[in-house]
């Protein structure tokens, strides 16, 4: 078991980056408008299907299709926020949450209806692996998935930090009334934020499509894990989400090794409860990037 440990830590770390990207979208949406988006897992699934069909029909490499998946999920999120969630932003928060559960039901069952079977993307470099340290070889697809996920998160950071729109989003997250007073159209900010958050899930879906079989229930795997990560990193804390993703990825990967045949997610949920109780603000405090917004 011990000789497998470094390998499983590396693998967990890499998958954790992708978990992190899903969670970054979730935490962005949560931080700006207080909506816990349960459809995020379904958005990952949609991203995987978009990547799958682009690959199956047009032969586009899943790592090139991150651009079309980003756009597709951006549009989907845009529609969801503009025509559904924006109408109930003043309602209690559980209404918004349950609305996203309904959206998840629609997307997931649409996929069950259209494609009930499992599908697989086979890229030419599927079985290739690289040595990252003496004795540890890692599949190329995992490294690529990690690189894209981290790159995307970094891009999101610079967008939020450096652009005018990013500043408006952060302003809305920190103080809605203040944002309105200085002239931010927060309804529009909600739409853009939800769209970007969804697009993160879509990109995460595209990058993991060579790793996991594309199936209609894949969203379940991502959504609960993503919520755990968001809580771990602090709700509304984007950098925390990325780090939290890696922690959960490693914990699950090592947990599988430590308890073979056991249920690795037991660890994840136990972590979730402990953090929710004792550090609801998350494990980390990263300066002024995000004021974790509380319910």
């Amino acid at each position: 078991m011990l000789d497998l440990l470094p390998m499983s830590i590396v693998n967990g770390f890499l998958v954790g980056g992708v978990y992190g990207l899903t969670a970054v979208g979730l935490t962005l949406i949560f931080g700006v408008m207080g909506v816990a988006n349960f459809a995020q897992g379904a958005f990952v699934m949609v991203g995987m299907y978009v990547a799958y069909w682009l690959f199956a029909l047009l032969g586009i490499d899943p790592y090139l299709s991150i651009v079309p998946t980003f756009l597709a999920l951006y549009l989907l999120g845009w529609f969801v926020q503009k025509y559904l969630l924006n109408k109930i932003m003043d309602a209690p928060h559980y209404d918004q949450f349950l609305c996203t559960v309904g959206i998840m039901l629609i997307l997931q069952n649409l996929a069950v209806f259209l494609w009930p079977d499992y599908r697989q993307i086979n890229v030419s470099y599927q079985s290739m692996s690289l040595p990252v340290a003496p004795g540890i070889r890692v599949e190329v697809v995992r490294i690529l998935a990690f690189a894209v996920a981290v790159g995307m998160t970094a891009a999101l950071f610079f967008f939020l930090k450096l652009t005018r729109l990013g500043k408006a989003i952060r302003a809305t997250a920190q103080n809605k009334d203040g944002a309105i007073i200085v002239g931010v159209d927060i309804q529009q900010i909600y739409i853009v934020t939800f769209a970007i958050g969804s697009a993160c899930a879509g990109v995460a879906g595209a990058v993991v499509s060579p790793l996991f079989p594309v199936s209609n229930d894949i969203g379940d795997l991502f959504i609960l894990t993503a919520f755990c990560i968001v809580v771990l990193g602090g709700m509304g804390n984007a950098l925390g989400a990325l780090v939290g993703g890696m922690i959960i990825g490693v914990a699950e990967s090592v947990g599988t090794l430590a308890f073979p045949g056991g249920q690795k997610q037991l660890i994840t949920f136990t972590i979730l409860i402990v953090v929710l109780l004792f550090r609801p603000q998350g494990l980390f405090r990263f300066g002024g990037y995000w004021q974790a917004q509380r319910f």
Binding site: G102, P116, Q263, L266
Partner: protein, 333 residues
């Protein structure tokens, strides 16, 4: 009819509904009709139990499956291993669930977990219960689930043969009627007002002297107890269940939707929601052609989303609006 008094809309509607429901097995012995009726009543019952805690106190739970599954597993394991009557097992499961609810509530409320934070804790507890049921296969038979063999008719053992399945109908009807009456009474009681007060503003309720911590705990345990009873019923009715069926996230959400669709602010809301959702699910599955198989689940999601967005207080609100309109048209006529 004396129209000078306001028409007791809810009471009359409830009485008519109950009378019709009592007569149903006399009208038809059709297994399919009774099966749908049982599903409606079960879902309505679950909705009512969930609403006691979540609708009345605003302490959202997305993990009520934890209590539901505990009820199913407790009574079934007691039955299979010790031959204990499920009637007693039902109470045992209920008490265990109430204890679990008490534990979750005590720890969460002590550390000040509220809103979505509390909802996530309940959801995580349900998932942990599911994973435990899956991994502790010596006791729970793992992923295969538990099977309750039905040998002969024996009401004391809640063992009901295929010919007499209408008895299940009366059991769940009695449960629902009891639960509805209880929720109706709670609304009128001081206890109910405490719950509503702490839902509207916890700090303000605390300020005027409501023991928020205690009443939240009572609401959680009561709701957990009621939910677990339905778990036992579910196990006995279907004779077989798996961890995913009773502990899974879908099980938790299934009992929320009737409340949302019907309207949690009204006593009859969860019942209306259950009727609509079950009818929709079952009927559309029957009438849709084979090629459209599974399409009804999509429409289910569409209904949920549309009701939440356009009728945040549920469909009962439509009925009350309509009633108000009628009363305006003929003022005191």
């Amino acid at each position: 009819m004396d129209t000078s008094k306001p028409f007791p809309f809810a009471k009359v509607a409830g009485a008519i509904l109950l009378a019709l429901l009592l007569m149903l097995p006399l009208i038809t012995k059709n297994h399919y009709v009774l099966h749908i009726a049982v599903q409606i009543l079960l879902l309505a019952y679950l909705g009512q139990s969930w609403n006691v805690m979540c609708g009345y106190t605003g302490q959202l739970s997305f993990g009520h499956a934890a209590f539901f599954g505990l009820g199913a597993y407790t009574s079934t394991l007691l039955l299979l291993n010790f031959g204990l009557s499920p009637w007693l097992g039902m109470i045992a499961g209920g008490l265990l669930a109430a204890l679990l609810g008490l534990a979750i509530g005590a720890v969460s409320f002590k550390y000040g977990a509220r809103g979505v934070y509390f909802a996530f804790i309940t959801m995580a507890v349900a998932e942990i219960m599911r994973l435990l049921a899956l991994s502790w296969s010596k006791l729970t038979n793992g992923a295969e689930g538990l099977l309750i063999p039905i040998a002969e008719q024996n009401l004391a053992m809640l063992s009901i043969t295929r010919e007499n399945r209408y008895i299940y109908y009366y059991i769940i009807l009695a449960l629902l009627a009891g639960c509805t009456l209880l929720t109706y009474k709670i609304r009128k009681m001081r206890f109910g007002y405490y719950l509503f007060a702490l839902r509207e503003n916890e700090d303000a309720a605390e300020m005027i002297g409501v023991n928020v911590f205690r009443y939240k705990l009572i609401a959680v345990s009561l709701s957990a107890f009621l939910t677990a009873l339905a778990g036992t019923f579910y196990a006995q009715y279907y004779h077989h269940f798996e961890a995913q069926d009773v502990f899974g996230v879908p099980a938790s959400f299934n009992m929320i939707f009737p409340v949302i669709i019907g309207g949690g602010n009204y006593t009859l809301g969860p019942i209306l929601g259950s009727i609509i959702l079950t009818f929709f699910e079952e009927v559309s599955r029957e009438i849709m052609p084979q090629t459209m198989h599974g399409f009804h689940r999509i429409l289910y999601g569409v209904i949920v989303v549309l009701v939440i967005v356009y009728l945040p207080n549920g469909l009962m609100e439509l009925i009350y609006r309509w009633k108000a309109k009628l009363q305006r048209k003929e003022p005191g006529a």
